[in-house]
Symmetry: C2
Subunit: 301 residues, 2 copies
């Protein structure tokens, strides 16, 4: 479909969150038209049309599903909240199996003191609600609860370390090494990790953690977007196109390749201006940045 000298986008995946305004059908059509090999799907867009229909849309376009985003939020303390979290994650596992991906990305959740993502602590939050060590322990417990169900469905629970800027309100899991420690008790086919440049680029242990993740067979995905400054008012929306910020994509991509990763590379960007842009232009820009800053480093020398 593309010219002989066109860049190879066979491992390039469009995460639907990057084109937030597009429906699943629109995002899939744009990715296929641009020559991408895969899409990463968010559950909101899947649920709009149902997982069965989503699977058909993607397959008919000749694309793979590189991951489903996202399950998680496993740090609740009360019995009802724990049960609700487990129920929701079981539904996510079923959706992943239906749409044909084995990789379900999990954002593990923040501190119980948290009132709402991005907001301050609950007025009644006490010391126990700030106990990050205990919150991490509950993540381990919930993984153990969910692992058998995931294994039965051929789905992997993919732990995503989030940048420490989100440790209070979204994820008490902040480094790839910590994700690997959490995953260690489980079969690598059932609990894996994703390397997201935005979240881990700063980590002094990144090279060794990526190598360890590869050696353990746990790299379930590689997500790329850039760390840009100044931060947006909502830091969640502060990601940039690959190449617009501070991340050393050549080096990190080489580390991921050297770790043996041969899967898809998802571009997942949350950014208001990019969301407001023409999705076709966004898809073209993502492909261009992937081709220039990621693809040349994606095959280990």
């Amino acid at each position: 479909m593309t010219a002989a000298d066109a860049p190879d986008l066979s491992r390039c995946s469009l995460n639907t969150a990057t084109v937030k305004r597009a429906t699943l059908e629109e995002a899939v059509a744009l990715a296929a038209e641009a020559g991408y090999g895969a899409v990463g799907l968010w559950r909101d867009r899947v649920q709009e049309i149902g997982a069965d229909r989503a699977a058909t849309v993607v397959a008919d376009a000749g694309l793979r599903v590189s991951s489903l985003c996202r399950g998680g939020f496993l740090t609740a303390t009360g019995a009802d909240d724990v049960a609700a979290a487990l129920d929701d994650n079981r539904r996510a596992i079923e959706e992943a199996a239906t749409i044909g991906t084995r990789e379900l990305v999990l954002v593990v959740g923040g501190l119980p003191a948290n009132s709402a993502p991005g907001q301050g602590p609950r007025p009644d939050a006490g010391p126990a609600d700030r106990d990050v060590v205990a919150a991490r322990g509950r993540v381990t417990d919930r993984l153990a609860d969910l692992a058998p169900f995931a294994a039965d469905h051929g789905v992997r629970l993919v732990l995503e370390a989030l940048h420490p800027i989100f440790a209070a309100d979204r994820a008490v899991l902040s480094t790839l090494g910590q994700a690997l420690d959490l995953a260690a008790p489980f079969d690598p086919a059932v609990v894996g990790v994703v390397v997201d440049t935005y979240h881990v680029w700063w980590d002094p242990d990144l090279r060794s953690s990526v190598a360890r993740a590869g050696a353990e067979g746990r790299i379930a995905g590689y997500q790329v977007c850039d760390w840009v400054l100044p931060l947006a008012a909502d830091p969640l929306l502060s990601r940039g196109y690959v190449g617009d910020g501070y991340v050393d994509f050549a080096t990190i991509t080489r580390w991921v390749a050297e770790a043996g990763y041969v899967g898809d590379v998802e571009t997942e960007i949350f950014h208001q201006e990019i969301w407001d842009d023409d999705p076709r232009h966004v898809v073209a820009t993502v492909a261009d940045r992937y081709s220039r800053h990621v693809l040349p480093h994606l095959t280990a020398a």
Copy 2:
């Protein structure tokens, strides 16, 4: 001066950055009046009156200087910029010696791609300017350059790990463990580390790193302020009073105490509303929060 049942503020230190509008004399007078044992000084306020005069002001008030903030910014690449950084740090070492503290806090600097703190990359920034591994290597080189001069002056170079939110523009040193690795080649009397709750509270390795820092004799200071949300537009100004955010001060303070730290506890808050407040009220609030959230945990059981 205080009532018999008043809290013991003998280890409580006021960092002058917390009362940014106050002159050094005003800050010292307020701290002494409130019963603090020490002050942490920023170089701008020292330089306004000269280091000799600053030393006299603090000594006359019966206070200690817990630290001088700050040297650092050691990641430059060009020969002129490297020479300028070394010159500035030698002056900071001399100032520390003159004002009577052995602890000179260093913020090591960000990526060369950085245009200015909080801003985007330089338009001409290339891949080498984003090489965080190389930038860290230059910090090691500059520490080796400065260590003999610091030792001669009886001053310790105190590495401050900054929250990864500042990795691009202010410090490629992001964890206490990384700071200890950087410090390892040097005598603990010459290169130490500071534990700042705002920067390290999220770190999954914090407990072991604090214990290691204590065992190595490198804990040069304990700084406290809270991680609050939502983040301020300038995240540098996003710190809060102890108790207003998500940090588990009971636990971290206990770890620091168990590591054998018996020095001063500096409250260093950058926050516009706190800066705009009456400094006397700020000093009273800092003392109250210290007494309630830090002091009870500061002596190992």
